[in-house]
Symmetry: C2
Subunit: 252 residues, 2 copies
């Protein structure tokens, strides 16, 4: 089986890492729209337009499934992609919601959703969680965490000040779980969990693997997955980031 994995830039590499660990695909093709990244600060119509172009790009490669490994794209373009595609299209929001449902049994748990401006504005995590019986949900856009990860600032005073800026008032709210609603955030997973007294984190990459297994009957049947990287600008840079991230981020 051949999966196309699409992201606005490098963020979706955290999803690729989970897919590689679980070896449910023989081949993975990753396409990062690095010429137009980020999507999370852009408007709905622009995001939809770019996602439809990405789908066309993948038509060259005869993929069996398209994984939208970007929360902002999943928030706005999934329905449009599904209308046009003749293969399954899965996004990280549905899978994140399913992961919460499976992981958090207490419906009164305090759940924090963090993401880009676009993702949070869509309100899709909150709607999905409420449809599954959760009621205590706080959503915050944390756009500055994206450039911090891109600049490899994963520790220190800037990160601390940024966490305080977004999260200070939530420290006494007993947050039980945090949805990392942007594929950059797994690189800050431990720091975010620590800030909230070891709260559970929901990671788009792990969530999508579980989703593919439970909803599409994929399983670990290959010895390893082959991966190829494509980028709309500066592919060398994408490959260098892939090398760094896929080595350094959390191994399950």
């Amino acid at each position: 089986m051949k999966a196309g994995v699409f992201d606005s830039g490098v963020g979706g590499l955290t999803v690729v890492k989970s897919l590689l660990q679980h070896k449910i695909f023989k081949d993975i093709l990753y396409y990062g729209d690095t010429a137009r990244v980020p999507y999370g600060t852009k408007d709905k119509n622009t995001i939809i337009r770019y996602c439809l172009e990405a789908l066309e790009y993948f038509e060259n490669y005869d993929i069996d499934i398209l994984i939208v490994a970007c929360n902002s794209a999943s928030a706005y373009a999934l329905d449009e992609l599904k209308k046009v595609a003749n293969i399954p299209v899965v996004g990280v929001i549905q899978s994140g919601i399913l992961a919460v449902k499976k992981t958090i049994k207490n419906k009164d748990a305090n759940i924090l959703v963090i993401g880009t401006n676009a993702t949070i504005k869509s309100n899709l995590y909150e709607i999905g969680l409420k449809n599954n019986g959760f009621s205590n949900i706080i959503s915050i856009a944390t756009p500055l965490l994206v450039p911090l990860v891109e600049e490899n600032i994963l520790d220190g005073q800037i990160l601390k000040a940024t966490f305080d800026h977004y999260f200070k008032d939530l420290k006494d709210k007993n947050i039980d779980a945090i949805i990392l609603g942007c594929t950059h955030f797994p690189l800050l997973e431990e720091k975010i969990s620590d800030y909230f007294n070891q709260a559970i984190t929901i990671h788009s990459g792990d969530a999508i693997v579980e989703y593919l297994k439970s909803e599409y009957n994929y399983d670990t049947i290959y010895d390893k997955s082959n991966i190829q990287f494509f980028a709309s600008s500066d592919p060398k840079n994408l490959k260098a980031t892939a090398k760094r991230w896929i080595e350094n981020i959390r191994i399950i």
Copy 2:
């Protein structure tokens, strides 16, 4: 006279403000490529491609001069634009260098250049300043200052931590002047100058006005300038930012 002002997004609005104050054009058309912003993290070929497309966009409007109000675009695409355009094309780097030459008489002055990754990598400010006899130049890419301005974080702990991250080791270097080599940075002008003990700041907007006056014989001949805004994505948002920035940034 009708000027086209081009930027990757909203940053060039700081240049527009200076142009509006000096009333050297009857009409100003601003085009922000908000669908593909930022340029400063992207590679040379992509930046050139986008700038040539912007030039074509302006061909619809019969402009008399094109002002590239983005340092990253000026760094990489100015020569290519000049080859193709049949009108004058001016950028903010040449004008910034001229502004330093006019403002700083001591050739031993310590000059700090800050900008995006792309602008600093081009090394054009440093080369230009050295060609004009300045020898003590320090260049630093300060990419995180861009999203801070975009998120309207112009004060507080995150800004302080970010300044310390980039500038701490320069505090004892007696910086005399700072080139704000990104059109977002004028919104932090006072804070940056304060950090360096009231160092002189060179602002792309003021610099381009002086450049147009001295090199192209423009002058204040209109009672006011009319301005129109265009964006490749979400024009409403660009207009809202224009309203906020053009009211709030420094009035000469």
